[in-house]
């Protein structure tokens, strides 16, 4: 039993060490040449633009269902007119960043792990190194940059669509006047917006770095690629939820 625990702790320590080394190499790759600009643009498109549909749909329906549920509860207190504020605050502070990050974890986390994992098991990563290219600079850095900068953009889009979804339910189901709905949103604090915008930068970073780490550590052929894909999604999703908690705690103490 003790041997099992020691073995598990060693594995965890090794993974943390390798993850930290990847973060170090990625940081070096971001600030020092060579830069692979073409790959960076390609990843902004693959991670950002291609994720738009799933994020739009998630944001819209989340806002809509939130308004629907909140309407029932708020009726108890006769507070139906503030449904707009509840939807917007929930979307901007929490649901927008976290749900967008979870969607990205499922879509791009799995994609990155599968792609890098396949390249590892077919020796393409070794071939790349043999041809004089650092795989971290060529493959990881563009994905990390795209994840860090596109996650906030997608989150803003998701927030907006969520509020629109909430408005549609509020207007046509709950019979809340449009002016009342939108005016209640204006009562948001600037700190709320700051928190809603800071979070996705960090969450985007977490998703992509975890996926790259898991992908580059793939062993065991095609079966290993499947395993890595699952691990990337699971670890990325848990990472998003956990980091969101600690980040929220820090931001509350810093911003409010």
């Amino acid at each position: 039993m003790i041997a099992l625990i020691v073995g598990w702790l060693k594995t965890v320590a090794l993974e943390v060490q390798l993850y930290a080394r990847l973060l170090g190499a990625t940081t070096r790759g971001i600030v020092t040449p060579p830069f692979y600009r073409h790959d960076i643009v390609e990843q902004f498109d693959a991670i950002g633009v291609a994720s738009l549909t799933v994020v739009l749909l998630t944001g819209f329906f989340t806002g809509a269902v939130l308004a629907l549920q909140a309407g029932l509860t708020l009726d108890t207190f006769g507070a139906r007119p503030v449904v707009g504020r509840l939807v917007s605050t929930s979307m901007i502070l929490e649901l927008g960043p976290v749900l967008t990050a979870l969607m990205l974890s499922g879509r791009i986390g799995s994609g990155i792990a599968a792609e890098l994992g396949s390249m590892v098991v077919t020796d393409q990563i070794n071939a790349m190194r043999a041809l004089g290219t650092d795989p971290v600079r060529k493959l990881v850095v563009p994905r990390v940059l795209a994840g860090v900068f596109m996650a906030p953009v997608l989150t803003v889009v998701s927030d907006f669509l969520g509020i629109v979804g909430g408005w549609m339910v509020a207007r046509f189901q709950l019979q809340v006047a449009t002016g009342l709905y939108w005016s209640s949103i204006r009562r948001l604090y600037i700190q709320d917006l700051e928190m809603g915008l800071i979070k996705p930068f960090v969450l985007g970073f977490v998703i992509v770095t975890i996926a790259c780490h898991v992908g580059l550590r793939t062993t065991g052929g095609t079966q290993g690629v499947g395993r890595s894909t699952t691990e990337a999604v699971v670890a990325g999703s848990v990472g998003v939820i956990a980091v969101d908690f600690f980040l929220t705690r820090i931001l509350i103490s810093l911003l409010y």
Binding site: T122, Q124, A127, R129, L131, G132, D134
Partner: protein
Amino acid sequence: MVQEVAHREAGGQILDEPELPVVVFDHVSLAFDDKVVLKDVSFTLLPGHTKIILGASGAGKSITLKILLGLLKPDAGTVWVSGRRVDDLSEEEMMAVRANLGMVFQEGALFDSLTVRENVGYRLYEETKLPLEDVDRRVEEVLGFVGLGEFSERMPSELSGGQRRRVAIARAMASKPKILLYDEATTGLDPITAMTVDDEVVKLRDIETVTSIVVTHQLRDAFYIATHAAAREEDGAITIGAADREKEQESEFLMLRDGLIVFEGDADALRHSKDEYLKTFLS
């Protein structure tokens, strides 16, 4: 020999001298946990010569190439490539050494999202500042050399196994490396296709004077490479025929068994070896 190479490196000289080895393995050992994969392996390779590393699966053949290329670090011993000690170099320092090395991986390891042209010109497009026209010209030249000139816009998935290996050879030679490493370049290919790959190895060695290390467990391919030579005719055509005795001796066999060198010598010595393991392996 090792001291001589070390002395030249200390003097900052680039080794391009025919009498000095371009590759030196000096008492190299490597183990993964409890599994020893190389035990005290030492050998040298002269410029323009061929080292053919034979052995059963798991004997440590591919590991030898990976150590040479700096993809793995040995636990003990020293490795020299083109007069530079490489076993203690960082990944970034190793990039400069790799400019002189080309490797053909098992199964080719072509980048499956790139076309044949992009694969072959990868190093030149990505890691050099050569004008695009020059790179395109070089890509056409090497694809012509391996007889795949008309396949440049195809994706790797559209090629046969033999064509993929030849593209991998073209990719490895595109930047004109002085040393080419072949890791099971003919494994899984039918004999006729394998011979076309062997011909490319012989042509590169004799026409482009590339130093070669060939890792294989296919005896037929190993002996073909060791006993054949390529020559350019007056009309520019390249012909391949039986090598003379002197040429044959430029190809040296190295047999690995469980990480240990059990034989080192030319094709003739290997054929006439009395060692039971070698006889079994050759039978």
